[in-house]
């Protein structure tokens, strides 16, 4: 069984009448890159703040690296970037990291390594207030990486980055993940999560709708087939892959599952006198699954919180 280093049990935060986070139970295993997906205002940041001890839960419990949220024993082994980075504007990037290294009890040589890792060494001695949004974000990640933490909690780390910066950040995250770094990554960038994460939790309106691998969340791909006559084609396909796997969508056949039997199906259709006009795989994306789950009239309103 995987060693869970982030565990929350029915974590809940209420602000007055508003329920910001509703009984969220999630687990992040050691060495895993866990994507925390959700639209803006879904409760991602509040959940991460609770895991870091910045916000006290109204109810529920959590443990990070086996410690209660906000305890120094856990925080010293955790690197975090929550929402926008917060630094002293009059200090350089390097001086800001030196201050944080002293707070965190890290060797100051870690500062240069962290700056190098996020490709900020060239501007490290410039004042923070002169940095672009992307540079500020990279400095935030460098601060999180100080002291080589066991767990990285990153809240929207590609915010404000240009496409090249986003690609660099993903590359960095992949490199860290490849080195066994555990990462809890909150994002509403579906492509980012799809490319980087091993497992995903989807949150909407404060509730964790589902948790699973990217493939599990994405669901099965299908095969689209345009043929004539359609009823004959449907009967032939149903005989081959089963009626439950065949449906008609927008005047075409939709076959659930991958395309393992496509050649066999086309051959059967041709032998049955069916004219086959188009056969193509339809890949389901994380975005498809995400929109289905978080749509106002979709399962978001019906979903049960996972136990």
């Amino acid at each position: 069984m995987m060693d869970d280093i982030v565990v929350s049990d029915r974590l809940t935060k209420r602000y007055g009448d508003r329920l910001a986070v509703d009984a969220v139970s999630l687990r992040v295993g050691r060495g895993e890159v866990y994507g925390f997906l959700g639209p803006n205002g879904a409760g991602k940041t509040t959940t991460l703040r609770m895991l870091l001890g910045l916000v006290r839960p109204t109810s529920g419990t959590a443990a990070v690296l086996g410690q209660p949220p906000g305890s120094p024993a856990g925080l010293y082994r955790t690197g975090a970037l929550i929402e926008s980075p917060g630094f002293y504007p009059y200090l350089s990037g390097r001086a800001n990291l030196r201050v944080l290294a002293r707070y965190g009890g890290h060797e100051e040589v870690a500062v240069a390594a962290a700056l190098e890792l996020v490709d900020l060494s060239g501007r490290a001695d410039d004042r923070y207030r002169t940095y672009s949004l992307g540079m500020k974000q990279r400095l935030g990640v460098a601060a999180a990486l100080l002291g080589r933490p066991e767990l990285l909690i990153l809240d929207e780390p590609t915010n404000g980055l240009d496409p090249a910066g986003m690609a660099d950040m993903r590359e960095l995250l992949r490199a860290l993940a490849g080195a066994g770094q555990t990462i809890l990554l909150s994002s509403h960038q579906l492509g980012e999560v799809e490319q980087v994460c091993d497992r995903v939790g989807v949150i909407s309106a404060g509730r964790l709708l589902t948790e699973g691998t990217v493939a599990e969340i994405r669901g099965e791909s299908s095969t689209l087939l345009r043929a004539d006559p359609l009823p004959t084609a449907q009967a032939v396909a149903a005989g081959l892959v089963g009626a439950a796997a065949v449906s008609i969508v927008d005047g075409a056949l939709r076959l659930a599952g991958g395309g393992d039997r496509t050649a066999e199906l086309v051959r059967a259709l041709v032998l049955a006198g069916v004219a086959v006009h188009e056969v193509r795989p339809v890949e389901r994306t994380l975005q498809d699954a995400f929109f289905e789950m978080t749509a106002p009239t979709g399962p978001a309103e019906r979903a049960e919180v996972p136990a």
Binding site: R49, L52, G53, L54, V55, R56, G70, P72, L75, Y76, T78, A80, I82, E83, S84, P85, G86, F87, Y88, P89, Y90, L91, A95, R98, V99, L100, R102, Y103, G104, G105, A143, L146
Partner: protein, 284 residues
């Protein structure tokens, strides 16, 4: 805790606002403590009272080295205190605006340790400022004494300790007040504004009202400014109501009572600020 103090000292010593505030205090202290009184002394005929009714010899006596422990703190109840209140409010309030408290609180130390580090570093700043003020005032007084062929008698060790201790206590109390305001308001602007209105306006208005409504003295006699002014008055500074007196200086409370009240205020400000910081959600 040591790490937090070192971290705060690193960032404070590179903070322009700190140098502006400390520099302002040093300049104002020299200008109001020495320059204006010395110009007043030099412009008098040396026999009759000056413009403010103070005999020239009294003016000169106040500028000599043995009076440094008093002169160095007589500006603290009003503008020195206000400047240090601003320092405390900015040091704590700005952290919410910049988001640095959030960063620090996720860097490892307990909130209480991090805040304690900032308080200790600010205490070091106030102590250094008090020592620098003493040194500069001593240099100014020695120069005046030499120029006027006056006695170069240095203050006794007890007087020096009393002056430095009073300066440190009053300075820390006002810095603590700023810290609490910065924490309560979670921002620099409102905390500075409220603090200045309180220290420079509200306390004085209340004292004015108390002169008309005697029952208000129960309140005004224990205000932070009253305690600071009384401690300076107990050291021998001329009260504001007397000819040539210093604004903010009073003799309402005795020295020990004033000191006890200042310690109580300082403790209350620090405990309230710490409790608020450690218990409150950090959502910005």
């Amino acid at each position: 805790m040591i790490g937090s103090v070192r971290a705060e000292l690193l960032r404070l010593r590179r903070w322009p606002a700190l140098w502006v505030l400390c520099g302002s205090w040093v300049v104002l202290n020299l200008v109001f403590g020495y320059l204006f009184d010395y110009l007043s002394y030099r412009s008098s005929d040396g026999v009759g009272p000056g413009n403010d009714g103070v005999p020239p010899q009294v003016l000169l006596d106040g500028l000599l080295p043995d009076r440094v422990p008093v002169t160095m703190v007589q500006g603290l109840p009003i503008f020195g205190g206000a400047l240090l209140l601003i320092l405390g409010a900015l040091a704590f309030g700005s952290g919410y605006g910049w988001g640095t408290w959030k960063t620090v609180f996720t860097a490892g130390p307990r909130r209480g340790t991090a805040v304690g580090g900032t308080l200790a570093a600010l205490g070091v700043v106030v102590a250094c400022l008090t020592a620098v003020t003493f040194a500069l005032d001593l240099a100014a007084s020695l120069a005046i004494a030499a120029a006027e062929s006056a006695p170069l008698t240095l203050p006794g060790p007890l007087q020096v300790v009393q002056g430095l201790g009073s300066g440190l206590l009053i300075g820390c109390m006002w810095t603590g007040a700023g810290m609490l305001l910065g924490t309560v308001t979670r921002g620099p602007a409102l905390s500075v504004g409220l603090g200045l209105v309180w220290a420079l306006v509200v306390e004085n208005l209340l004292r004015g009202l108390a002169d008309a409504l005697g029952s208000l003295h129960v309140l005004t006699d224990v205000l932070p400014g009253t305690a600071a002014g009384s401690l300076v008055g107990a050291l021998g500074a001329i009260p504001a109501d007397d000819p040539g007196g210093t604004p903010g200086v009073s003799t309402i409370l005795g020295g020990p009572a004033a000191m006890a009240l200042l310690v109580a205020y300082l403790a209350a400000f620090l405990i309230a600020g710490l409790a608020l910081t450690t218990r409150r959600d950090l959502t910005s």
